[in-house]
Amino acid sequence: MFSRLRNDFPILDTRVGESALSYLDSGATSQKPQCVIDTFTEYFQQRNAAVHRGAHTLAVMATDAFESGREAVSNLVGGVPEQVCWTKNATEALNVVALGMDRASHGFGGESAGRFALGPDDSIVVTEMEHHANLVPWQQLAQSTGAQLRWIPVTDSGELDLSDLSSIVDETTKVFAFTHVSNVLGTINPVKILVARAREVGAFVVLDACQSVPHMPVNFVDLDVDFAAFSAHKALGPTGLGVLWGKSELLNSLPPVLTGGSMITTVTMDKSEFMDAPQRFEAGTQPVAEVAAFATAVNYLAEVGLDRIFDHERELARVLLDGVAQIPGIRVLGAAKDRIGTVAFDVEGVHAHDVGQYLDSQGVAVRVGHHCAQPLHRRYGVTASTRASTYLYNNVEDCERFLAALAEVRPFFGVQ
């Protein structure tokens, strides 16, 4: 089945110069099946209109497409459609939570927002393996409220070092924000253990699910997180769309950050009142075509089955890791057992940029740089790495083409 579905992705047939394409950069963004592309065309050719506010037929069709996207997503990750708020990307979703708490700390949102208020006696906990999107907003919140920012360190083997968990996450902790899966190491973190500790101290849990939702079965209700964020574009969906998922009661008391049309009930010149979630966080015209396309993507994923996708990618990960281990001068960052098909490494004597360039000349697309995780790279003593990351459309041949090219890198640059 996985060999067949490759045909659904037209870009995989394009060529890079004279080479076939092996796309191993899905950790950055995924490619799209034709059905997702077709949804755009169909939407703009047949039912494009502004949603919600219209009585006319096109507007009703557009609203249907928009709202059924919420249903598709809640079927995927748990909860009810009202828990799915659209954002432009996961980064916005994480910011909405951090900035909402910032506003609560500055008196916005009335009494019910008080539980989100932070001050100098409070702490915020993240991890050393966070993507900047789940680090910088919390730094900003700490700066704005005087709260202390703490973090769980990472072990040499690329896992969270939980030995001091109970002293890092303690009674002062109001927010515990961490990634489900590292976008660099591929490590799957033990969410349940982390959530359990957060519950003990009454901290809110914010889960960065960017690298988990596309690659494995994830249910936010089962995981019992308070807020979660991910992006459509990494999960076969379009650019320009992210998801903020939250517990309804919390969403409805978190002060909104972006304000304007379609998220208010009554507006006078002086004062406005806000709707409940999800509209509360959806100011202005929303990415409607994108939602329609993402609904198609989510249904496609569900049809393939995320458990099967997970198994398929785990197999590719094994091929990658075994292969890389055979090539001299390659140091893989992290060595977690519990992982997805993401492998980042350092090539001794050759800078990641040059590695990536060489691989590209062989038609192999990988990512180079710090992958928006500078602190994690610093932890491993490098400023940049090369990362190969898989998805459901990749096959063993992609991995082998990558490995063959990688083996030639040090010789090409005259390093032995």
């Binding site: 919600h52 506010r53 219209g54 507007a59 009703v60 609203t63 249907d64 208010i264 009930t265 709707m275």
Partner: protein, 155 residues
């Protein structure tokens, strides 16, 4: 004129939207006995309704309301008020549940005219997703206000 439009704007609805039973000044603090009050706004269009319920000694409910909205929302409030004058509290809750279900049926349910009375005329509305909220606005207010009236009785 399309049949859908005729189904949406039944004569009963147009009549109610003009006659507006129950559309009268609220008593507010002057009301005696068990009463409740609710203010509902449809944020997509700004339509609003203020609705008051009063539990009468004969077991029926007096409904008074003022509002501003489309023919569907005004007719719905009128029909509701009319039904309340003849129904028990239990009956009205039953009607409310059935009406709610009907509105979300997207035209797949047939209305039970025996129970719903004039409210059965709103069957066509359920095929117009954008108008369902209009039809339900007064009912949401009613349920909220009735709840308060019952609570005040218990105290």
């Amino acid at each position: 004129m399309s049949t859908q439009m005729q189904q949406l704007y039944q004569q009963v609805i147009l009549d109610h939207s003009r006659s507006r039973i129950g559309n009268q000044a609220l008593l507010r603090d002057d009301a005696t006995g068990a009463h409740g009050f609710s203010h509902q706004v449809n944020p997509t269009c700004g339509d609003e309704i203020e609705l008051e319920t009063e539990l009468l000694d004969d077991g029926t409910i007096a409904v008074r309301w003022t509002g501003d909205g489309c023919s569907i929302s005004m007719a719905s409030a009128s029909v509701l008020s009319e039904l309340a004058t003849e129904a028990s509290v239990a009956d009205m809750l039953d009607i409310e549940a059935k009406f709610h279900e009907l509105m979300h049926s997207r035209g797949t349910l047939e209305a039970d005219e025996e129970i719903l009375g004039d409210a059965a005329a709103f069957t066509g509305v359920s095929k117009f997703p954008a108008r369902i909220k209009c039809a339900l606005l007064s009912w949401v207010a009613f349920k909220d206000a009735l709840n308060q009236a019952q609570t005040s009785l218990e105290e």
